[in-house]
Symmetry: C2
Subunit: 132 residues, 2 copies
Amino acid sequence: MNDHSLYKNSFDNCPLTFALNLIGGKWRLPIIWALSKNGTMRYNELKRSIHGITNMMLTQSLRELELYGIINRKQYMEIPPRVEYSLTDNGKNLIPALKALAHWGKQMKSLITQNNIELESVETVNETEDEK
Amino acid sequence: MNDHSLYKNSFDNCPLTFALNLIGGKWRLPIIWALSKNGTMRYNELKRSIHGITNMMLTQSLRELELYGIINRKQYMEIPPRVEYSLTDNGKNLIPALKALAHWGKQMKSLITQNNIELESVETVNETEDEK
DNA sequence: CCGCATCCGCAATGATACTG
DNA sequence: CAGTATCATTGCGGATGCGG
């Protein structure tokens, strides 16, 4: 049982912060994004499509998103086990807002990249690990 | 010099995650929100309007938002010092997207509250400190 | 195949005190 | 008034290994 950060701070009075805390964290958005593109996905399908996620984080994120009513979890009682995930209506309602944000992010990215802002150092990310 | 988390992970390929990292962190949104409501604000004005923020975090967040081109900083060389902050056009462009997200958050909040989901424990937030 | 528990490092945040 | 510097804290996310 870990701590769900839903009711912690001063989210209560701010729907925006509330939303950000529902979709916050490192892996929730990638999951939502993948499901919005592919419809219904199985556990390992998700895991393969989200580069770098561990079982731990995937399971945890899925459980939280399910708890919040953003995704559906459908478990088939068979051997071997099969579990399918998909967006709920609430989850789908989120997509347009995300697209708006993504649009803004795209603008910002080109601006920031153009102006070549000197955010010190870390420009060597995909330099050393390209293949593999 | 602290680490700006802009180019760290796999933001590069995802405008959405890029956006989330521009406005992420605990205090950036409250600052943007305050500025979008009040237009131009001075340092201590911001500090008073954002409950619980320290000088440290306020300064740091302001610097980062300025670096990203989301807010303007105008310093008047006088005694006592006066510094005014406001949203740039980029910052203003963000507001509609935030409103969409906030709208969704509002829906989610009422749903989650209605269904009275048992997010264990922390339901005693404003129980013990009500007055004061 | 799907998922959970435990331990741990590190970056983000907080507290406090000081400065032009 | 508008910050800066330093140290302490904390909680998210990563690694690893087990369980149905």
